[in-house]
């Protein structure tokens, strides 16, 4: 299960797996595609080959049995191996995609799910975002409670209390910002879902009436 795997390492693995399910590819091109789909800030260069190594160990991907020589990618005059997902790799990816995100929700993980999700199952994705939103409200509630206890803090000096207040306020602000980001994401996905569902009527409305 996802929870046994390291956070960001895991996301890189799932992303590479998702991209290989879409289309078998070399590590070199995978790096490029990660950049295109998720923005280059997310992962360093070479992240794809490290992810592929781990996926190979877990037998979630394998070198593709490419018959056509033209499909063997050549980079800098050298032939590169093309990888593809194994059936258990496809299963694993599907499970990951539909699973709730971790608590606290990792932005990169949710980001990856959104980037790799087909538009067919938006309701499940919206549900995942909703769960993450609720998880964040719980975290904020906790940090609120801590802040109150700290402000009570009997023996602490004024300086200590001020420092505690600043730190706790920072944490609360962080959760607050995350909640609002998730709200935006959910609203966007809901709008997208509504748009998909109303494509036909929308056309009718836009048809010139006179």
């Amino acid at each position: 299960m996802a929870s046994t795997v390291q956070q960001s390492e895991m996301s890189a693995g799932e992303i590479v797996l998702g991209l290989l399910i879409e289309q078998p590819d070399t590590c070199y091109h995978l790096d490029k595609r990660i950049g295109e789909r998720l923005g280059s800030a997310q992962f360093s260069r070479g992240a794809a080959s490290r992810a592929v190594e781990r996926l190979l160990e877990r037998k979630l991907v394998r070198p593709a049995d490419v018959a056509e020589p033209a499909e063997l990618r050549v980079v800098d005059g050298r032939k590169k191996t093309v990888y593809e997902a194994t059936p258990s790799g496809v299963d694993h990816f599907e499970r990951w995609l539909r699973a709730s995100t971790q608590t606290p929700p990792v932005r990169e993980e949710l980001h990856a799910k959104i980037a790799l999700w087909g538009s067919a199952e938006l309701p499940r994705l919206i549900e995942i975002v909703r769960e993450a939103e609720l998880a964040c409200t719980l975290q904020l509630q906790d940090s609120n409670r801590e802040m109150r206890v700290e402000r009570q803090g009997g023996d602490a000096s004024d300086w200590e209390r001020t420092m505690q207040l600043i730190v706790s306020a920072g944490e609360a602000t962080w959760w607050d910002a995350r909640i609002k980001w998730l709200q935006d994401v959910r609203m966007y996905l809901e709008r997208e879902h509504a748009r998909q569902q109303s494509v036909a009527p929308a056309r009718r409305i836009r048809a010139p009436g006179r």
Partner: protein
Amino acid sequence: MDPVLSLRGVSLSFPRGRRHVVRVLADVSLDLHAGESVAVLARRSQGKTSLLRVAAGIERPDRGSVTFAGEDVWRLSDRRRSRLLGSEIGLVERAAPHLDVPVLTGVALPLLDRHGRRGAYARAKSALAHVGASECARQRWGELADSERALVALAHGIAREPRLLLVDDLAATLGIEEHADIAELLGALAAERGIAMLVCAGDSGPTPNCDRVASFAGGELLVAPAAPTDGTNVLDFPGEHRRRALS
């Protein structure tokens, strides 16, 4: 014990143009008990004010029920319902008052018909003292700093000793410390006076420090479940220092 405010499956939409309907509240449910505070986090234009107006019995929802102290608000007579607001339900907004009078007079005005001149002024004074804004009594709204305005608005809200206080974006423009003071004050009001509080917060400013937190977007209210009770009363923190300093 019955919740002070109970929303059940409340939905509200507004038509926009002829073909579109804006969903402001979608199947919102919430129980708010005496002495409990809930912070609602939402972006601008997400229907925070509509939520408060529905909770206050000003706006009638399309569907669902609004129950105040065990009574369905929309089964009450218009007269009784409109009396709830301003007596048992307080709505705190930071809008400038309509009359440019000294703060104390402004807070006392709505109390005049029920408590008489002397009583109204006494209550207004006590409300201002309670929130730590006694020094603002003679000033006018235009002379007040943001943090003082927030306190005066709160004094307006509690002067009539409501059971339910609805607070709209009070701490929006405050800094960490002023905000912490307001948060502490709200918590103390909830705990000491047993007021149920629904506090909405917008884009700007820090999160209100309430017992429970709810995320509000697209008409949906996602309320985190109540914190586990581990023996410590989270509301039991000193809200005294401000008042002590002024008395």
